[in-house]
Amino acid sequence: MDEKVTREIFPRDSRKSYGLVELMKKTAPIVRKEPEDTVYVWPNLLMIEIICAILVTVGLMVLIQFEHAPLRSLADPSTTPNPMRAPWYFLGLQELLVYFDPWYAGVVLPGMIILGLMLFPYLDVNPKGVGYYTYSERKFAVFNYSFGFAIWWITIIIGTYLRGLDWQWYWPWSNHLEHMNPALVTLIPLHLIFVNWFHVSEGVGKLFTDVIFIGYFALGTLIPMVVWKPMYKAMGLWRYLTFSFFFLSMMGVALKIILRLLFNIKYVLVTPWINI
């Protein structure tokens, strides 16, 4: 701090009563910094942009020498291709149709993803880590983002490479021309498992699943409130509740995928109106 100023940056002109001062929106004054710390956009930055633009354009031109835009046969409403794949960026959502009913996988969940992304800056109260790459200063935020996008990309990869005829699971070494026997897998709603285990009526089994479903959200919200009190205090009640809802919903998607793939659970919650 006490390094000697060897040269006056803004030499004072004895004929003038004013000096060169700049006001900045910062918490600390920038001292001993010359205006010459900056460079002109023309040509320094513009040159970088132009080079970047040329590289991307050349890359695109090279790419289309090897790959061409696809064109299948004329649209035919009477012939459905099997499997019918959405464009790659929607394959994640299409794959989620395996795990959820269309109203959730195709409408509500995408809506929640968009809303959740928009709300992120308002839910992340950690002031650290602006303007540089850091994981250690904001582990939880990075975890959330990465987790969401891991689901997104994993489902895209499954949809692209591991799904075949009738949207069944095909390994790369499976025979992709042969239909799988759908009878091999029996999907059951969770409450029937309880019915079988505990020999209770279907109504009681459904009650179990209701309790589990509500308990997942209730405990998932309450336990961190107590265990990570500083986090809860920093966020405040409404911010925390909003975050908790989105966080548990995201985790719920992952849980449901696991339940469906490993245990053939079709629904965890069955109500007269909606099934999840």
């Binding site: 929106k25 289309i64 929607f90 109203w103 195709g106």
Partner: protein, 253 residues
């Protein structure tokens, strides 16, 4: 000789009437070159030396913009050869493939720039996230960014229908069917039928202009893809860039 020619151009009345400043080989004219130019003045006149480092932004947002411009140019070019009519659309694409000079080039560019734009929007968003650039005071610009992301995806999806081949038809049929499952306002969605929504009046009907993907859907997707959504993206892009300058840059710029 060359110097003389350059001076002749730079000092001419035409050059001065267009640019209103001299050749940017000195600081004053370099500043003028940026802020007296409608396209370049998205930049500040000067940036910190450290902003020239590529490892902060990796130019991801800029690349996304470039791809959008490429898409606009190739897209308008393709519009000259395309008719949004179910009886002609597919043949137009075939013509582009086999008859029209440069047809394949433009179509391929349009297709892969579109894939690229989706990819780079996502990469750009990841960069912004990882550098915490969405935090106050830049929260709103993150929202604008998410709107642009959604618009990019919808643009891709509406463009998917236009070739009117099997890929197009069924991808859009499946996607539109999704809309019919929307709660409350879809014929198949929870509480949809109870609220009186039928195949002839629900959200899917509105989207397709019919109960199935047909001529009405094609013209709707065409107008959305070629006019409405690019306009929306342009407006939000303007806000996006404006806010970067107003809210300040997060990194070492």
């Amino acid at each position: 000789m060359l110097q003389k020619l350059k001076n002749g151009i730079v000092d001419s009345q035409i050059f001065k009437s267009v640019f209103r400043h001299g050749y940017p080989d000195n600081d004053l004219d370099r500043a003028y070159a940026i802020f007296s130019n409608v396209f370049l003045h998205v930049h500040p006149v000067k940036v910190r030396r450290s902003a020239l480092r590529m490892r902060y932004t990796f130019c991801l947002g800029g690349i996304t913009l470039l791809l959008f411009i490429i898409l606009a140019v190739t897209g308008i070019w393709l519009m000259f050869y395309y008719t949004p009519y179910t009886g002609l659309a597919y043949r137009n694409i075939k013509d582009l493939q086999f008859v029209i000079f440069g047809g394949n080039l433009m179509r391929d560019l349009h297709r892969f720039a579109a894939h690229g734009m989706v990819l780079f929007v996502w990469l750009h968003m990841t960069r912004v996230f990882l550098t915490g650039a969405y935090k106050a005071p830049r929260e709103f610009n993150w929202i604008v960014g998410v709107v642009l992301l959604v618009n990019t995806l919808v643009l891709s999806w509406t463009g998917y229908l236009l070739p009117w081949d099997q890929l197009a038809y069924w991808a859009v049929t499946v996607g539109a069917k999704m809309a019919s499952y929307t709660p409350f306002i879809g014929q198949n969605g929870p509480w949809g039928p109870q609220l009186g929504f039928l195949p002839t009046n629900d959200i899917m009907f509105m989207l397709l202009g019919g109960t199935v993907v047909g001529q009405n859907a094609l013209i709707r997707f065409y107008v959305l893809h070629c006019v409405v959504l690019p306009l929306v993206v342009t407006v939000f892009l303007a806000v996006h860039f404006w806010r970067i300058r107003k809210d300040g840059f997060s990194g070492p710029l």
